[in-house]
Each structure stands twice: as C-alpha cells, then as structure tokens.
C-alpha cells in the first residue's frame, strides 16, 4: 500500500499541501483576472483535492524504476511522459469541471479562461505532477535506504546468534565436567594419562576459543581441534570409541566455518557410539571433487531405537549457520538407516588465498 494512504497523519498534511497548491492556482487565476476569488477557489480546490489522489500514482512510477537500475534518458522519458499524460488528464478534468459549473450556474461561470489561461493551467498540471514524481522519488530512495539498513541489522543479529550458539556448543558443560571427572579418576592410578588428558582438554578449549573468532578456518585446522576432542573422548569411552579419519590432502587446505566437523563427531558419539553396548567406529571422509568439498561422517546407531528428542536441534543449527554464510551454495543432508546414521556436508571449494 502507498505509505501516505497508510498513515492518517501523513495523508492529512499531504492533502493540505495540495489544497495550498489549489489556493496558489486560484491566486494565479485571480491575478491574471480570469476569475473572481470565490469562483477561482471553487474551481481550483476541488480539482486539487481530486488530483492529490491521482498524483499518488507517481509513487508506483518511481518504484518501477529503482535508483540502482536507472539510466537517465529512460528516467527522463518516463517522468516527462507520465507528467505529460497526467497534465492532459488534468486539462480534461478542468474543462469538464468548468463545463459542469457552466451547466449548473448558467450565466455565472466559475472562471472565464482564455487560451493562454488554459495553457498556464496545463503547465501547472504538468509541473505539479512532475513535482510529485520528484518528491516520491526521494521518498522511495529514503525507504530503500531504511530497508537496507534494517536488513543489515537483521543479518548482524543473525550472525551474533550464530556466534553465541557456537560458543555455547564449544563450552558444553557436560563434556567439560565429565572430562574433569575422568582426569580426577586417572590421577589415582595413571598420573601420566591424567596429565595428557589435561593438556588435550586445554588444547581443545584454547583452539576453539581462537578459531571461533575467525569466519573461516581450514579443514586441517578443524581436524587438529577434532583430534584433541577425540583423544579426550577416547579416554572417557575407552575401546568403545574408534574413529577412522580419512582426510584427502587437497581437502585439508579448504576453508569452512569453524566448528563444522566437531559437532558432527560429538553427535556421532552422543547418539551413536555411547548408546551401543559394544561401541563402534565413526568414519570421517573428506575429499574434493569437481570444485566441491565433501565431508561425510558415518556412525553406527542402536537398531530401531527411537532417536532421543533434541537430536535434530544441533544439526539444524549447523544448517542455519551454513545458510547464513553460504546461502543456497551449501548443502547438508543426513539420513538414518536401521543401523547407521550418515551426514554429509558439501561446500564450494574455497582455499586460503595466502596458502
């Protein structure tokens, strides 16, 4: 809807401005002695009132030709043509109103305009519409600036949400406290292992904190982080947890958002390996093919078990993060069969420029 029609206060001031224009036209008619004041006002004000609403159409004319796609000859032609057409209509309306007045009032016409008078009247119509076009143009430009500022603010909020979400997943309290408990247990009988686990835990958190600040990291960096994470989880779950990491050499240098692979491994352990009495093997494959980076994680799951609620939340978060960063160019898909869960992420290959 037209922004002026949508707002009663704006509409009031707008109509008032047109009525003032009407007074102006009446004054011009009076000055050129083509009418008395009463007749001139009776002639001009109703016309301007009607024309106020006709001139609103210029909003759509302006919108049809946004600033960014504007070439001057086209714009001039369009604005001039629109003004000319509307001035013709304005002329017709004026003559019709005049004739009607003559018909009703017989010998006392509102105005008695000569040819130059009608030319002046026509020019006024042309100028008024052109003015309206220009004013609307400013309005449309202003609106689009506001809209783009709003969009920018929205995307900033989204980005911050993603960042917060990431921090929250990094500092998974369950993982942290259980790891500390394992270290506490190890100190009693295997101090060397306790020390190693402490170092892995510290490395894992240090790296996640450092990487979280960056928009993209290489897969290689993510894998190092995952290796610290897996070293900790292997201590917790012992022989139950096996991982096969197959990262192709050309895939290591590819860029991806930080903490893309790690949550997949965390899910694979939480919903897969941990639930299985005998544990199992998580297979991670990363390779580059036809300009795309493919990262796949496959893990066994308990046969026929109902997936615990909340399973999809983590995956949805990753999907949203990828959508914010890559738009439609990133693909993430997962499927669960009777005995295994497989997830694959495809990203366009993007290598570090300096590498």
């Amino acid at each position: 809807m037209h922004p002026i029609l949508a707002d009663a206060r704006k509409l009031f001031w707008y109509v008032l401005a047109w009525l003032l224009a009407g007074v102006g036209i009446a004054a011009l008619l009076r000055l050129t002695e083509q009418a008395e004041w009463t007749g001139a006002l009776w002639f001009a004000l109703p016309l301007c009132l009607v024309w106020a609403f006709v001139a609103l159409s210029s909003y759509y004319v302006c919108r049809s030709l946004p600033w960014s796609q504007r070439r001057w000859p086209v714009a001039l032609g369009l604005f001039g043509g629109a003004s000319l057409l509307s001035a013709l209509a304005w002329l017709g309306l004026g003559e019709a109103w005049d004739s009607l007045a003559r018909l009703v009032l017989h010998d006392r016409p509102l105005v008695s305009m000569n040819s130059p008078g009608w030319v002046m009247y026509f020019a006024a119509g042309f100028l008024l519409y052109l003015l309206s076009l220009l004013a609307h143009d400013v309005l449309v430009a202003f609106e689009s600036v506001q809209a783009s500022a709003r969009r920018e603010a929205e995307s900033r909020v989204l980005a911050r949400d993603a960042e917060l979400q990431m921090l929250r997943t990094q500092i998974n309290p369950h993982f942290l406290f259980n790891s500390l408990n394992s270290i506490s247990a190890l100190t009693g009988f295997d101090p060397a292992a306790a020390r190693e686990m402490t170092v892995d835990l510290a490395q894992f958190f240090r790296r996640t904190l450092a990487l979280a600040e960056r928009e993209r990291i290489t897969l290689g960096e993510e894998v190092v982080l995952c290796e610290h994470f897996l070293a900790i989880e292997k201590r917790r779950f012992g022989a139950k947890l096996n991982v096969e990491l197959r990262i192709a050499a050309d895939a290591s240098g590819c860029l991806l958002p930080p903490m893309t692979l790690q949550p997949l491994l965390e899910n694979a352990i939480k919903h897969g390996i941990r639930q299985l009495d005998g544990g199992g093997t998580i297979a991670v494959d990363a390779l580059v093919r036809d300009g795309w980076l493919h990262v796949a994680v496959v893990n066994p799951v308990v046969r026929g078990e109902v997936p615990a609620s909340g399973h999809g939340v983590g995956l949805k978060n990753i999907r949203e993060r990828l959508a914010v960063l890559y738009g439609a160019r990133a693909r993430i898909a997962w499927q669960r069969s009777e005995t295994q869960f497989a997830i694959e992420i495809n990203l366009p290959v993007d290598k570090e420029a300096a590498a």
């Binding site: 406290f177 639930q275 609620s309």
Partner: protein, 253 residues
C-alpha cells in the same frame, strides 16, 4: 556397628573412569562391598532387581535409560546416591526435593559425606522395607518436564521401551495400566490419572474413567445405543466413551 553385615553397593555409570573413581573412593570404607557395576540403564534395572543392593550410585545421563527412568522402572527409592556432571533439570529437581547428589568431579570429602548420610538413612535392623515410600523421590521420578515420549515397562528383568506413537489405548485395570500396542498388551503399575498428566494432551484423550485413547489411532466414533458412544480404533478394537469423554472428543475432532 561392626556387627552389621557390609552394605552391598551397585555402581552405575557408562564411563569406566567414573566407576573406577567410585571404586577408589570406596576402598577406604570396609563396611561397603561392591556387588556389581553397570554400563547402561537397562543393565542397571536388571541388576537392581536381581541383586537388591543396599546402595546404588546412579548416574543420571546414561545410554538407553536415564537414572530417573531406572528408578521409575524398579520402584527403587531407598539408598540411591545420584551422580551427574551437568543436568540443569535434574539438579533443580534435586534441590527442590532435598535429594542428595554428587556433582562430577566430586572430592573424597564430599563423597564421604554423601555416604555417611546414606548410612544413617539405611536402618536394616529396624526392618524398614526397601521400597518404603519416599515422597521426595516419588515426586522427582513422576515429575516430567516435557510430555512423555516413550513408555517404559518392566517385565521381571526385561524392559520394554514403547514409543508413545505406537500406543493405541491405555486401560485402567485395578492398580495396573494395560497398555495396548500392536495387538499386545503390557501391564504397568501406575494410576491412569498420573499417566494422563504425563501424556501429550493433544495426542491422547481420556475418553472414559478407565480409558485413554490415542487420537492418531482413532478411526471412528460409533453409537451403539441412544446416549452411548464408543471409539473404534484402527486395529478394530472398541473402547467405551463416557458422556464427558464424548464432549471432550467433540471439541477436539
């Protein structure tokens, strides 16, 4: 004191290191004997039933069944010491009901204090029944934050986990609930009003004093007589509908 037989303890945790730590902490207590260890909730249910230990160290977050589900299934209340790394909901509930729990990692001192408290509560000589009602724990076990997603049924040492989507209807039979699933019927000791509260009200409806039906399994409403209604389920089973049940059903369907 020394005349008492040792307390028999069961350690339940899916992480070997966590169990190891409890074993180590228990070494200094000659009056406690570890009779078993479990890696998951199902195993814990079996062992609690089979061994009837005096003391259970119970992790909350475990594969298969959570610690609270283990208590629900076994009816076990006395002599439970919860251990958890981080579970906001459980911890809030523990605080609310004044139930003792150990937060991982815990110190030897804190562990000993929990043990001392458990010892004073355990009075076998007085003949306190094992499963004497404990309102705090009962409330904790019955308490659900989200609508029930699966119904747990224990048949001696066997545990059935039934997703609620599969449940056709639930019928009250004395002190038991008969849960109808795929032409089979499982019995569970619970009140119908209690499970009615736990189930998702948009998917299940109490249509009669002794019947809850799954709306997903409802096929038709029949009228066997004037002012009498019955629900026909997908399986062909018919369930009576009371007058107030019919009113509720009419507003929903």
């Amino acid at each position: 004191m020394s005349a008492n037989p040792p307390l028999r303890a069961l350690v339940v945790d899916d992480e070997e290191l966590a169990r190891h730590l409890i074993r180590e902490y228990l070494q200094g207590h000659a009056d406690i004997e570890i009779v078993g260890e479990c890696e998951n909730g199902l195993d814990a249910v079996r062992q609690i039933v089979a061994l009837a230990p005096d003391l259970v160290f119970l992790d909350i977050q475990m594969p298969r069944l959570t610690g609270l589900e283990v208590l629900e299934l076994t009816g076990r209340r006395a002599g439970v010491i919860f251990t958890t790394a981080y579970d906001e909901h459980a911890i809030k509930a523990f605080e609310l009901h004044a139930v003792d729990y150990l937060l991982k990692p815990f110190s030897k001192t804190r562990f000993d204090a929990a043990l001392a408290r458990a010892r004073t509560l355990h009075v076998p000589a007085q003949g306190t029944p094992e499963n004497s009602p404990q309102p705090a724990l009962d409330a904790l076990v019955a308490r659900r934050t989200a609508p029930l997603e699966r119904i747990l049924i224990r048949d001696r040492e066997q545990v059935h986990v039934i997703p609620v989507e599969q449940v056709e209807c639930i019928e009250a039979q004395g002190d038991y609930l008969a849960i109808h699933v795929d032409g089979k019927c499982h019995l569970k000791p619970q009140r119908i009003s209690e499970i009615e509260e736990q189930l998702d009200a948009t998917r299940f409806l109490r249509v009669h004093r002794s019947f809850i039906i799954s709306l997903a399994h409802l096929q038709a409403i029949e009228r066997p007589g004037p002012d009498r209604h019955a629900a026909r389920l997908r399986s062909g089973k018919r369930v009576p509908i009371s007058r107030s049940g019919y009113e509720k059903l009419r507003t929903l369907v």
